[in-house]
């Protein structure tokens, strides 16, 4: 089904189940869908596994979700940042599980989930603590670690503009994880700065085709349109 367009963030995130794996886009704040994450906090789903490059900044967005105690486990590449005090506190208190994944492997594992790949041999991390316990294989003289897909129940991503069918374009480095996460989740919810009529986006420049997008939150109606 092509996408449904929402103007109310709470409606856009309705139905997320407890225990879901939620993929949250963004690299730091660029591309981070803060209004959708805020709505997820209000929605109340708990026991979540969150997959995101970082583990929250400051006290808003993902950090607020963590602070609300909704996240059982973080899968990310770089939790430790200057302003990741919420995560740091939970981690040191033993209140959250952490899986650290090299950034490219994180992206590729989600791509694999979206692309129907069962597993792949990845050279990153061979011989390091992050490969411990993982299956390895030498192929053509090079060593690889076997990595498995990360599939999301829900993806929350931030794009720039969407059309009514759900086609998305991004802006500059805010693109980052959005297009990959959109392919890897059962339910993909994208916030966009504004929605245009179908046909207004250049078909050559669409980055995320509408097949990957289930719901669009149009921020132009709200003050979150930034």
């Amino acid at each position: 089904m092509t996408a449904a367009v929402f103007t109310d963030p709470d409606e856009a995130v309705a139905g997320v189940a407890d225990g879901s794996t939620v993929l949250i886009g963004g690299f730091g704040l660029a591309g981070m869908p803060v209004p959708l994450v805020d709505a997820l906090i209000r929605q109340g789903a708990t026991g979540l596994t969150v997959v995101s490059n970082n583990a929250g900044n400051g006290d808003t967005g993902l950090a607020a979700l963590l602070a609300a105690g909704r996240v059982r486990k973080m899968i990310c590449s770089f939790p430790r940042q200057s302003d990741s005090w919420v995560f740091d506190g939970l981690y040191r208190a033993g209140k959250i599980e952490l899986e650290v994944v090299p950034q490219g492997t994180l992206a590729e594992r989600m791509r694999a989930a979206g692309a129907g790949i069962g597993a792949f041999y990845c050279p990153t991390g061979v011989g390091t603590p992050l490969a411990e316990g993982k299956e390895t294989r030498t192929i053509d003289g090079r060593d690889y670690v076997l990595e498995y897909p990360i599939k999301g129940d829900v993806a929350l991503i931030g794009a720039h503009v969407g059309d009514r069918m759900g086609n998305l374009v991004y802006r500059k480095t805010a693109r980052n994880f959005g297009p990959v996460m959109a392919t890897a989740a059962t339910l993909t919810i994208a916030q966009v700065r504004h929605v245009v009529e179908t046909g207004a986006l250049d078909p050559e420049s669409v980055v995320t085709p509408c097949i990957y997008v289930d719901r669009i939150l149009d921020l132009s109606a709200t003050e979150d349109s930034r």
């Binding site: 089904m1 979206g114 129907g116 086609n167 669409v206 085709p209 097949i211």
Partner: protein, 223 residues
């Protein structure tokens, strides 16, 4: 719902068959129509169905065949036939296009077949003839990747042998992948519980059962 026998008529014509398939594609679905007969299903999708067509050579939102001035050598379908673009279309490269298929994002694909087995195995890429040049294209990817695989074919070969069989004898395209089989003589749903006849055309269920070596279930039958 019970199995419907349309007896006062002959087998379905090709257009009727395409219309039948089109009827069963849910509105708003993302669909790939295989080369040949499946392509004609597009002509029977109702206006406003919201069905979005995928072509594996890198496009969503494919429109009807191009004619005259519309013909653009850069815009072709999987059968290399010039086509058109609809509003909301997008282009992507081959790896992305097949990631879309393999990843289970297409709701339905419609394929032709040489044989379909009672388990839903599909044989549609190779006759197995020793001198045939093998050519698979995207058939295996579609059979493996789409959420639902619909097959359309004649139920019997020209020599009268059934093409719905206990086990495929032609080389396989995919295992247990066909969920619905549309033929000129009957429509079948294939699943874990076996093969269920949902409609027949110009042939009773009993007649059908006598000509096939596959156990048939019917809808609404007490078993």
């Amino acid at each position: 719902m019970s199995t419907v026998e349309h007896l006062g008529r002959g087998p379905l014509g090709r257009d009727e068959l395409a219309a039948l398939v089109a009827r069963d594609i849910p509105p708003g679905s993302f669909v790939n129509l295989g080369i040949g007969q499946p392509t004609t299903v597009a002509d029977h999708l109702p206006a406003g169905s919201g069905v979005v067509l995928h072509t594996e050579n890198g496009m969503l939102g494919m429109g009807p065949a191009a004619h005259g001035d519309e013909i653009d050598p850069d815009l072709v379908n999987a059968g290399k036939i010039p086509v058109t673009e609809l509003p909301g279309a997008s282009y992507f490269h081959h790896a992305d296009s097949f990631a879309m298929m393999r990843g289970g994002h297409l709701d339905v694909c419609v394929l032709g077949a040489f044989q379909v087995s009672a388990r839903g195995d599909l044989a549609n890429w190779h006759t197995g003839a020793p001198d045939a040049i093998p050519a698979v294209g995207g058939a295996m990817d579609l059979a493996t990747g789409a959420k639902q695989v619909f097959v359309m074919m004649t139920l019997f070969a020209k020599d009268g042998t059934p093409k719905l069989v206990p086990e495929c004898t032609y080389p396989l395209t995919g295992l247990t992948c066909v969920s619905r089989l549309y033929t000129d003589r009957a429509v079948f749903h294939i699943g874990r519980q076996g093969v269920t006849v949902t409609e027949t055309y110009g042939m009773s269920v009993a007649e059908l059962a006598s000509r096939l070596e596959v156990p048939l279930r019917t809808l609404g039958a007490a078993e």
